[in-house]
């Protein structure tokens, strides 16, 4: 049963790591704008000019 001491230690450490990760995220401003990133992720990747024609066909094929 003494294993519990070690396990609790580990679980606390793990939780602490998440807490620190949250602090870091908050400090770097990741929670400041909660709207725009959600829109941004839906944008297609940039395509070079010559690729546009090909992707047009892809769209029409669908």
């Amino acid at each position: 049963m003494n294993m519990i001491f070690i396990l609790i230690g580990f679980s606390m450490l793990l939780a602490l790591i998440f807490l620190i990760a949250f602090f870091w995220a908050s400090k770097s401003g990741q929670n400041d704008d909660l709207y725009t990133p959600g829109v941004r992720i839906l944008f297609d990747d940039d395509k070079p000019a010559e690729d546009t024609l090909k992707s047009d066909e892809d769209h029409q094929a669908r």
């Binding site: 602090f23 725009t36 940039d46």
Partner: protein, 795 residues
């Protein structure tokens, strides 16, 4: 992709969606309403940015005809104040762009590097309508801003930007960190407390001590970091002789920690650590709900955000942009069409036609002759004029008005219901605690201490403290959906207490866009068509309104088109010579008042259109509903030509005041307040700014919430104007909900106290009672607020 991007209706502009003229502009098979839209499309097409049109149909906004001049951005003194960061290679700036409105905007603004490689990175914050741009020194700031301007995203750079850089919201982040710490500790403590609640055998007693020590260690950050604000607030209030809810909270937290520490260290019990952590966690969430308002809307604007950053100064005939602060007496300045006069000045050259509606509330433009004094704040409507400054910006009429002491009055903080109730609550709580302590002290000292601390722990008004924030936050978000944006949750309680409502006229109860037109004279259908075709070519607001009012689609082409800016138009339509414009333009002698548009066809006078004020949608119903319960007043800076049409809405003639200066408006509100009235001021312009501040509650009405609105407690979208009675009703219901939830949480407290005064409170009971009451309150307030909103037809 082409199949996707084709707009469904070929009759609208591919860029902005406006209806197409008779001869639309064509580029690559796409049709455009004007050269501006076509220009933007061509720029985007050239830089391989046409995906802009794939995310939304007609993402563009109608390009404004006259672009602002940005020469002043070349001045390093102005430049420095605007730029966030600068080193040898790059600069970074955050610009406010009101035109941001859809996902296409985000996409385009984040692909600026394709437009100009010297723009290294651009990030959009959609809600704040801001773009942060990093650019290398291959281009100047002016060029960056002009690039934005050419694609229809002209940034708004105002004086307030320079004076006061918007700071990242540090306090909000700190609160979130505190919640995170409290949540972390609460979760762990709860898990470690369970074994004890479920019972541990004698064999496992070393676990009990171990868990206890960890719990105690985990409660330290909660006590020292997360709940620090409650201690400092309670202390500050005590020093000022105020008993607010923070006092019993801080006392409860402190007592809980001390009793837990003694129990754990003396190994007499598990303590109340999990109750302590959950209490702080829930309290902080309540506080967060309360703070979570519209940080992206500005409620604290003043004249500085209305003024430009720089003005064009003429030195020996040469134009030079100077920052406003450097403007001195006797400087000669050039004001172009649509620019604002920044300082009191004398007209030297040109034709001055000024729109003072924002400053005085007078809706009709004012003409000034050479040598006359022009006060700051007016917007020049016709061509460029030259002026000589007679007072520096800080001494000008408008600025002085603003800096006037009465305008600076700081409002008393709104007294909320919980502030008032908590005073009595605290006193009663202390009486019970000491009473039960003394009662047991005679027989059993241990039990006396247990009873005393238990009372303070169980009566810690967590649920009480949460009922206001959760109710009001729910109402705030309901208001938000209905386009009323309030500065803080306290404003809702104030709204419920209002008994007098004062309206401004111009721009508040009248609709600035949809002026109703009346035609006097005779025009055949064919002639109407011709007038419409001619007027369609002009960008003047009255011409646009005329076209809208006639509602005819374009048919004929116009030849020999001529436009005298601000005076009139002429042209050949369908072989008829048509001239429309002011009486002056047509050489007429008339007695028609107001802004009339006269029509002359083939040298024959046909009559005139006159623009009449139109009330906002629902104003009639609104005044009908409100006048039953509230005292309605009208304060207008305008002449009294609308007195007749307004008299049905406002009971007595003494309740309507015309030709009011901003100071008079403020004094009027003050007098009402002296009579013990609680005044709601509904206004829109700078001329109402003082009254909005002085009133118990100031609401600014605007048609675009990101446009300038004076400092106020709430911003109401013009479209929701008719819902004002519903908002007030909902605010009253919210107060009712708060009262009910207070009753519920007091009931919980009574149950807890009944056990506590006997000195029999166990940690398990506290651990159940506290979260249960909290969750009941959260559910009750949120559901109740929504129920009332549905009943009030706000949901």
């Amino acid at each position: 992709m082409n199949t996707l991007t084709k707009p469904s209706i070929e009759t609208s502009c591919y860029h902005c969606g406006d209806s197409l003229p008779a001869k639309p502009y064509n580029s690559g098979g796409k049709l455009f309403c004007c050269l501006g839209c076509k220009g933007v499309y061509q720029i985007l097409e050239k830089h391989n940015l046409s995906a802009y049109y794939t995310y939304n149909i007609v993402p563009g906004k109608l390009g404004k005809k006259n672009h602002q001049k940005f020469d002043y951005l070349d001045e390093s003194s102005i430049n420095e104040k605007l730029i966030d960061y600068q080193d040898e290679k790059i600069s970074a700036i955050t610009l406010y762009i009101p035109a941001i409105h859809c996902s296409s905007c985000i996409w385009l603004l984040e692909h600026l590097h394709q437009l100009n490689p010297a723009i290294l990175q651009s990030r959009t914050d959609f809600l704040k309508k801001q773009v942060s741009i990093t650019f290398s020194h291959d281009i100047t700031l002016r060029k960056v801003v002009e690039t934005l301007s050419t694609i229809g995203y002209e940034p708004l750079i105002s004086l307030q930007d320079m004076v006061q850089k918007q700071q990242a919201d540090q306090s909000g982040r700190k609160l979130v960190s505190k919640i995170a710490v409290a949540g972390f500790c609460f979760g762990n403590v709860m898990l470690l407390s369970f074994p004890d609640y479920f019972g541990l055998s004698a064999l496992e007693s070393n676990f009990r001590n171990f868990f206890g020590y960890i719990n105690l260690a985990l409660s330290l950050p909660v006590l020292l970091y997360s709940s620090r604000d409650y201690f400092s607030s309670a202390w500050n209030n005590l020093k000022n002789g105020i008993l607010n809810l923070d006092f019993p909270l801080a006392l409860g937290i402190a007592v809980m920690f001390i009793r837990s520490a003694t129990e754990i260290l003396l190994q007499t019990g598990p303590g109340f650590v999990d109750t302590l952590c959950s209490l702080v966690f829930f309290l902080l969430i309540g506080r967060w709900m309360q703070q979570r308002t519209y940080h992206y809307l500005s409620f604290e604007r003043d004249y500085r955000s209305y003024f430009p950053v720089a003005v064009t100064r003429l030195i020996n005939g040469l134009e030079k942009a100077v920052p406003l602060q450097e403007l001195q007496i006797a400087d000669r300045i050039l004001i172009r069409s649509n620019e604002i006069i920044p300082a009191d000045a004398i007209l030297l050259k040109g034709e001055a036609k000024l729109d003072f509606s924002f400053v005085t509330g007078e809706s009709a433009p004012v003409n000034k002759v050479l040598g006359e004094i022009i006060y700051a704040g007016g917007r020049q409507l016709s061509g460029a004029i030259e002026l000589e400054v007679i007072k520096p910006v800080s001494q000008s009429y408008l600025t002085k008005l603003w800096n006037n002491e009465s305008f600076q009055t700081i409002k008393d903080p709104i007294k909320t219901f919980s502030d008032k109730a908590s005073k009595y609550f605290s006193i009663v709580l202390l009486l019970i605690a000491f009473g039960s302590g003394f009662y047991w002290a005679g027989t059993d000292l241990n039990r006396a201490a247990a009873a005393f601390t238990a009372v303070l722990i169980i009566a810690c008004p967590c649920a009480l403290a949460l009922s206001s924030p959760f109710t009001l936050a729910a109402v705030l978000s309901i208001f938000d959906k209905n386009k009323l944006y309030l500065k803080s949750t306290e404003v809702i309680e104030e709204l419920a207490r209002i008994d007098t409502i004062v309206f401004d006229k111009t721009g508040t109860i009248t609709n600035p866009d949809a002026g109703d037109l009346h035609f006097t004279g005779t025009l055949s259908q064919e002639q109407r068509q011709a007038v419409s075709d001619l007027a369609r070519n002009s960008g003047h607001p009255l011409s646009r309104e005329l076209v809208k009012w006639l509602g005819l689609s374009p048919r004929h082409d116009v030849f020999h088109y001529r436009e005298m800016v601000g005076r009139g138009l002429s042209g050949m339509v369908n072989n008829h010579q048509i001239r429309i414009g002011s009486a002056n333009f047509l050489g007429l002698q008339t007695t028609v008042k107001g802004s009339a548009v006269h029509i002359e066809i083939d040298n024959y006078y046909c009559g005139y259109f006159i623009a009449a004020q139109q009330w906002r949608d629902g104003f009639k119903a609104l005044s009908g509903q409100l006048s039953v319960r509230y005292d309605l007043h009208l304060l207008s800076g305008d002449q009294d030509h609308d007195r007749q049409c307004l008299s049905p809405f406002f009971p007595g003639t003494q309740q309507m005041k015309f030709r009011q200066s901003p100071q008079q408006k403020l004094d009027y509100i003050k007098n009402l307040q002296k009579d013990g009235r609680r005044v709601l001021m509904v206004g829109d312009g700078l001329n109402d700014a003082g009254a909005l501040r002085q009133s118990n509650l100031g609401i600014a009405v605007t048609d675009d919430i990101n446009n300038f609105s004076p400092g106020c407690d709430g911003i109401l979208d013009g479209k929701a104007f008719g819902r004002l009675p519903l908002f007030i009703k909902q605010a009253k219901d919210a107060v009712k909900v708060i009262h009910m939830s207070f009753a519920i949480s007091l009931l919980y407290n009574a149950v807890g106290l009944f056990i506590a005064v006997q000195g029999k409170l166990s940690p398990l009971m506290a651990a159940i009672l506290m979260p249960m009451s909290t969750i009941t309150i959260i559910l009750f307030t949120t559901l109740c607020a929504r129920y009332y909103a549905r009943k009030n037809k706000l949901l």
